[in-house]
Symmetry: C2
Subunit: 245 residues, 2 copies
């Protein structure tokens, strides 16, 4: 019980609360903290690690937000029962696939700069008619088609090349240009696929598809991207963790 933690690196740029959170998370994944088990109280833990209580609290809170821990006032902190799943985070489909050991590939179906139509302009909060980059891509995992991704990006990104989009995910490209994406609002629904969508995705005509509409904002609050995606319902699902605070 006592050797749950390795030493902390106070010279590292990685914040202390983050180092601690990761160690607790690993302890949970590794079975050292089985589901339902109780953590020591935060004051003792902080003491043992030579940390202040706020720092310790922040580490624990981070895992509560991830849905791994549950706290109850006057009682303590416990590990949540049940299998640990991976929640959706602010990543792209491309990154998700790569992280799961898949081999993502992309085929650019459409790549054009057009004047922003009304709906697009409203979602991106740019002037109607201002130049935007309109993309339509087919995303595959291995040999299997997985999703049709349609996106619009504001003027500052109209120089993204078709070739670069074929190789690296859109989020990766944006990040490498120094864009700090912070918030995304998604709307997840379902509908029958169009004939063309089903053809692209190698599904039978009229198959049910999972739809996702998303606006992503950067660290200045400006819209960076608006997208309408359709996924093969037979191969894809969204996972979400909700926490009440």
């Amino acid at each position: 019980m006592d050797d749950l933690f390795d030493d902390l690196d106070r010279s590292s740029p990685v914040p202390l609360y983050f180092q601690v959170a990761r160690q607790i998370e690993q302890a949970i994944e590794g079975g050292k903290l089985p589901p339902g088990s109780r953590l020591e109280n935060e004051i003792t833990l902080a003491d043992r690690l030579g940390l202040s209580r706020p720092t310790m609290r922040r580490a624990i809170q981070q895992l509560v937000d991830k849905g791994l821990l549950v706290r109850k006032r006057g009682v303590g902190t416990q590990v949540v029962h049940g299998q640990v799943t991976r929640p959706v985070e602010l990543t792209s489909l491309h990154d998700d696939l790569a992280a799961h050991g898949q081999r993502p590939s992309t085929q650019v179906l459409l790549h054009e700069v057009v004047p922003a139509p009304g709906e697009v302009a409203a979602s991106l909060a740019v002037a109607e008619g201002s130049p935007v980059l309109h993309l339509r891509r087919l995303r595959c995992s291995g040999d299997e088609p997985l999703a049709v991704l349609e996106n619009w990006l504001p003027e500052q990104f109209t120089d993204l090349t078709e070739a670069s989009l074929g190789e690296r995910g859109m989020y990766q490209l944006l990040r490498s240009r120094g864009v700090g994406m912070r918030v995304a609002r998604q709307r997840i629904g379902a509908r029958r696929g169009t004939t063309e969508e089903c053809r692209l995705l190698q599904e039978n005509r009229g198959s049910p598809l999972l739809t996702m509409e998303r606006t992503t904002h950067d660290d200045s609050g400006r819209a960076v991207e608006w997208g309408r995606h359709v996924y093969r319902a037979s191969r894809y699902a969204f996972e979400v963790t909700l926490v009440d605070r």
Copy 2:
């Protein structure tokens, strides 16, 4: 700019950071803080309200988590562009509908206590074969059917009556019994509806439906409920806000 805030009530049981967060939120909704506008720096704000900086930070952070604000080190805090939507929270469909002024109603299709099948037992983290309450309900909004809700609850809730479930939402019932729900993991997908589902939902045969599988845990980390729901894709969608921290 200066009269953004009402006075704070230090005797109220509502935490100060929460009172502040709500006031900022109202200022955003009311247009006093338009999209893209910058907040004063947190030290000044804290001073003006007679608060400490950590408390002010916590208020702001709460709104960042909700996707309303965006912060950037060395720069400041800004209001996110774009329409403000309501993210899904840890509420039931019943509560959601009621909050939107709809008139939710429920028809209990099935209400039985059965020995937990393997899959259910695993999701609820109870012994296989232990008694569980198995529910199947049709949820309507006004006159329109909206979803078929199938749920399993562990032994301690097997005494929930069919009548009570017809009147109040399941989450409401659980809360009134002192259950503090804290974490839920959802998996959102899509598929074609079965013949019976489509009949219940008054959809054409084979219509696409939005599916949701969910496990809810209470503040002790124990599973409280496992559910498999199907929603009419033509009338329902999930909204999710993701924040990168």
